[in-house]
Amino acid sequence: MNKTIIININGIVFHIEEDAYEILKNYMTDVKRHFLNSADSLEITGDIENRIAEMFSEILTNENKQVIVEQDVRNIIDQMGRVEDFDEVYDDEKSAPNNAYNYNTGERKLFRDPDNHLVSGVCAGIANYFDIDPIWIRLAFALSFFFAGSGLILYIILWIVIPKALTRADRMAMQGEKLNLQGFKNNLEEELSSVRNHLNNLQQEAKPLAYKLRDFIGDVVHHLGLFFNGAGKILIKLLGIIVLISFFAMAIALVVALVAFLGFGEGRYNHMFPFTIIADEHASRIYIVAFLSAFIPVLFIILLLIRAIFNTRSLNMSIGTTFLVVWILALVMFITYAVKASANFKDGGSISQTINLKAAPGNVYYLKFNDVKYLSHDDSLRLNVKGQFNNMTIENDDDENTEPQNVTLHVERSDIKQPELVETFRARGRDDEDALLNARNTKYIFIQQDSVLKFDDMLRRTADDAWHGEELELTLKLPLNAKAIIDQQLQDRLRLDGVNVYDCKESNKQDNATSAVFIMTDDGLQCKIDTVVIKKTPAQIDSTRNANNAKAIAKLQAQVDSARRVDSLQKHK
């Protein structure tokens, strides 16, 4: 079984097999190119086409068949003769001087070399002429392209002006014999005049110029085609393979992720955002549909790429349809789950509770971060009580950082003498009741140890349920003039509202300190800027401090210093 093509020669339709057509087309292209320099080219090629059509008709009637096959075309070409065989007779006006020339010298002529071409054979032709390796000419041209494209223009001019070596005689003249110096000179003059003639012809005769241009454009297209068939295709394929590899990597990553989540990853990633909202009972189903809705398009792209690059039919219709259906189902399920999950966030609810704190001696409060890792609630509480700064404590590891920062701390002025802490739990749910329940199912660990207030950075869910946007807002109310020494770590781990430990440290030029001192004023908590410390050198500080001992502010300062000393002592342990 063979594919046939329908062709039309001078108004007569023929069915011709594909490979036979290719041969015929190439032959006719050769013929047309051969007669290009002739003003009668259209008529001559028309006659030849006509004759071919007639021979086709004869073959079809004589052999009583319907389709022209390869052998028929070959027979016809044999009868018509190859392009090379045309030359001997049809070298009319031009041939006489050429032949005379050939008698005398046998020297080489400048032709474009169609046998050894990279683009159009200009470089190879020049190289033939000078009997050197074409690579040097090509290199020179390639370099000259960079001089404002001058080489390119020269190349195109040469392409138009230098004739292509079509005939055997041309080729022989092109290869020639080795040039001696005298011959070289003669030849060069000969060539120059021939090129001049060529140019004159171009200018004088409109018709040949049109043919020349047609030939040139045809040549350009032909060679561009060759380029894209060759180098260009390879480049595009390489690019395609790179893209293909990256998509493969993506597919593999998706599979690994799925296995990880389904197998043993669940607990580990529960704290990260998109996974926190997934209710556990649906988890594996959601992972699978999410995987499918991402994996199938990737797979599809891979198959398409393979098909494009390797020219294979890598996907049949039924498999493709199945994939499409599965993908749509997965996508629908995924959207359903997403809607369901978001429905769990419909309503909000909050509960508040107030914890009365003990007034600290000297009205000084140390706000610290509770950097104890809680193994379990009971365990952690016990550990915390026992060994706050001992080796027994287990520090929070970095994984916990991925938890949404859902604890906010404000420090406000208290209306009463007693400090207090207001904890406001917020959560969302599918209705108000659910939201309130979710808010209640949380636990926060706050510890007061005399003047030290320890804040945890995590709001814990007591029920092992999905995340519902739980938030905690802490409002610490301190009495007027109370001093708050806030640990830098607290700033790092919690959302501190209206207070910036780093700014305060900088204002006091104590960049190495781990905490900053704030004072509760009527306008809220303010950074205590120690003007004395900034102005004086450390050696002067003590004396200045002694002089100002009477003042209340200095009294406070002394307390701060002692507190710091205690702090650093504890650290050194």
Binding site: N10, F35, N50, E54, D85, E88, S95
Partner: protein, 121 residues
Amino acid sequence: MIVENTQTQMRKGILEYCILSIIAKGETYASDIIAELKKAQLLVVEGTLYPLLTRLKNNGLLTYNWVESTSGPPRKYYVLADEGRKVLEQLDITWRELEFAVRTAIGDRNPPNQQETDNNE
């Protein structure tokens, strides 16, 4: 190469003379001309003929008529123009002169070469 060129030159002139002679017999179709030329072993491939015919036509030696064909496309039937007839008469004379010249020049060498006999025809 020299031999090839001489042959080409020789054959070229004779070919035109022969084509004109064939057409002079009456309205002729290209494939008939080829058949005759093949019989005379002067031409082996058809492709060569068309440029020659076109050139002779352009020089005003030939004209052609389109004739509908029962099978295939319409055919060009060539006839000799008046100019062509005159040229042919001149060529007849030239040929006779040439034949004499060649025969005289070769003398009784009687070359066995096929190529030479071709040219002498």
